[in-house]
């Protein structure tokens, strides 16, 4: 099977491989797929207070198309507002990489990974501000996490 130049480039020199601390403030983590199906994608975003994705990282267990799809997804969403990133579709990813039909599920997974990361970010944000804010649904367990996150917030502000 011949893959496109774009796909091979993202596979051979993948962008944004790595991880963020998932408990860090502003980080959202999406973990989609299943090992038994041969694809697992972990996509993480770092979001600024004004809702811009400032950085993105991924790790993927999967075929070359899955790795390329996640690499492309992280490249695209960097610098994007989360509302806009939310609207990226698998079709756009599949077209950009010229995925063959049997590999379309890889782009679906990348779309799901972006959405899952944004959802996780929003959930974390809700929890973090739960003490004073009415936005979140608070629960007892999140208290320690929230404190920890406030410390990281301070560190970030210094930077």
């Amino acid at each position: 099977m011949a893959y496109s130049k774009e796909l091979l480039e993202h596979y051979e020199n993948p962008k944004n491989v790595g991880s963020f601390d998932k408990n860090e403030k502003g980080v959202g983590t999406g973990l989609v797929g299943a090992p038994a199906c041969g694809d697992v994608m972990k996509l993480q975003i770092k979001v600024s207070d004004d809702g811009i994705i400032t950085d993105a990282k991924f790790k993927t267990f999967g075929c070359g198309s899955a790795i390329a799809s996640s690499s492309l997804a992280t490249e695209w969403i960097k610098g994007m507002e989360i509302d806009k990133a939310q609207k990226i579709t698998n079709k756009e990813i599949a077209e950009e990489l010229s995925l063959p039909p049997v590999k379309i599920h890889c782009s679906v997974l990348a779309e799901e990974a972006i959405k899952a990361a944004i959802e996780d970010y929003k959930k974390n944000k809700g929890n973090n501000y739960s003490e004073g804010d009415s936005e979140g649904d608070s629960d007892g367990d999140s208290k320690d996490d929230a404190n920890e996150d406030k410390m990281t917030v301070k560190k970030h502000k210094k930077n």
Binding site: S19, A34, A36, C37, G38, V40, K59, F61, G64, H105
Partner: protein, 405 residues
């Protein structure tokens, strides 16, 4: 010494043709083009003589009589002919049961499935974790209605060698015929149809450095095994397989068989040396698992699961090596290999498997190159694998509630 890329490590799929065989085939094509079934002139007689020499060469390699060898187009045809042929011939005697393994080649499994559609009863016997047949389970599966047991010698995906002599003895004791698909074994491990009580054996040319499109079926004469032929035609190959015998291919198979017999020990020692070096280096990468029994194995086939690395991305990463994935991920199906499944290998590990095949023409430089490349790429791909991270953190990936899709 520089190596030619990509390095061919897919010897189970097919083998390069031995240059001695190529020369001989070309010679026959140039000079001996007669139809071996022509009785009226010397072109035919010469071709017939060549075919009969080849028949003896093939027979000798398995200690059979030349009259027991029938040329076919390859192991797929031989397997179809053996299984359907025996099943249909003995069906009238109320013997409508066949036993085979879940790990057999597709052509055996699908021949059996076809028979199932026609009302035959098929037992697909599971294998043990090491890929080998459970002889007690086999004995228990044989009934008064069983006509045939079909069990392959060397598995094409994982290389394990089934205990042919024990299976043969059991079948003889129970009075059922024993067919074995020897596509991956013929010419590579010692085979003796008499010592092993084999009644039918499928043979392939292109797995033993011979040409594609030629194979043979061994059918025992004493006691005689009867089969119903599939092709209608001129009654060539004594009515078993109609169609003009392809002289040049048959000569190629014959010579490849003779070389295999004379050089079996030499080939074995060469492959053993390369295989050991490769096995030691690859398993040193940790969390790499050999699929199938370590001891009962043809050493020219090593099928590994690389935990945390999906098979197809591995194949793309090591594109300087011509290998194949045990997983069927490259096809439209997302199902991992049915053979690994039958061994009870977890889906996530089955998706990480790669088969490496070595043979007569593999060099030590090629193995060194392969080891070096695999080591580098395993490191790279694991560094980008979320599953590898989880394994390093001691998270059991089975404990996670994955959403399968």
């Amino acid at each position: 010494m520089t190596v030619k890329l990509p390095i061919y490590l897919d010897y189970q799929s097919t083998t390069p043709i031995d240059p001695r065989v190529i020369d001989r085939i070309i010679d026959v094509m140039k000079n001996d083009y007669g139809n071996p079934h022509s009785r009226s002139h010397s072109y035919g007689w010469k071709a017939e003589e060549l075919v009969e020499i080849a028949r003896r060469q093939v027979a000798k390699l398995i200690n059979a009589d030349e009259k027991e060898i029938f040329f076919t187009s390859g192991a797929t045809e031989s397997n179809n002919l053996a299984i359907k042929g025996v099943a249909k011939f003995y069906a009238t005697a109320n013997k409508k049961h066949i036993i085979t393994l879940t790990t057999e080649h597709k052509c055996v499994i699908n021949s059996c499935r076809d028979l199932e559609q026609e009302g035959f009863k098929i037992t697909f016997l599971p294998v043990q974790k090491n890929g080998l047949v459970d002889l007690n389970a086999l004995e228990n599966a044989i009934t008064d209605e069983t006509s045939l047991v079909s069990i392959m010698a060397v598995n094409n995906e994982i290389g394990v060698i089934q205990p042919l002599a024990e299976i043969g003895a059991l079948c003889r004791k129970k009075g059922v015929y024993f067919h074995t698909d020897c596509a991956q074994a013929f010419g590579k491990i010692p085979l003796d149809v008499n010592k092993m009580n084999i009644d039918l054996m499928s043979i392939s040319g292109h797995k033993i450095y011979g040409p594609k499109g030629i194979g043979a079926l061994y059918i025992r004469r004493k006691p005689r095994v009867r089969i119903k032929s599939i092709f209608s035609g001129g009654g060539q190959e004594r009515g078993i397989r109609s169609g003009t015998a392809p002289t040049q291919l048959i000569v190629g198979l014959g010579l490849a068989s003779e070389i295999a017999l004379n050089e079996m020990e030499q080939d074995y020692l060469h492959i053993k040396k390369l295989s050991k070096k490769f096995y030691d280096a690859v398993t040193a990468l940790t969390h790499v698992y050999l699929n199938g029994d370590l001891e009962q194995r043809y050493l020219g086939n090593l099928n590994f699961s690389f935990a945390g690395i999906e098979g197809e991305s591995m194949i793309m990463a090591i594109k300087d090596l011509a290998v194949s994935s045990g997983s069927a991920c490259t096809s439209a199906s997302l199902e991992p290999s049915y053979v690994l499944h039958a061994l009870g290998v977890d889906d996530e590990l089955a998706h990480t498997s790669i088969r490496f095949g070595f043979g007569r023409f593999t060099t030590e430089e090629e193995i060194d190159y392969a080891i070096n490349l695999i080591t580098k790429k395993v490191e790279k791909l694991r560094a980008m694998s979320p599953l590898w991270d989880m394994m390093q953190e001691g998270i059991d990936i089975k404990s996670i509630n994955w959403k399968t899709h």
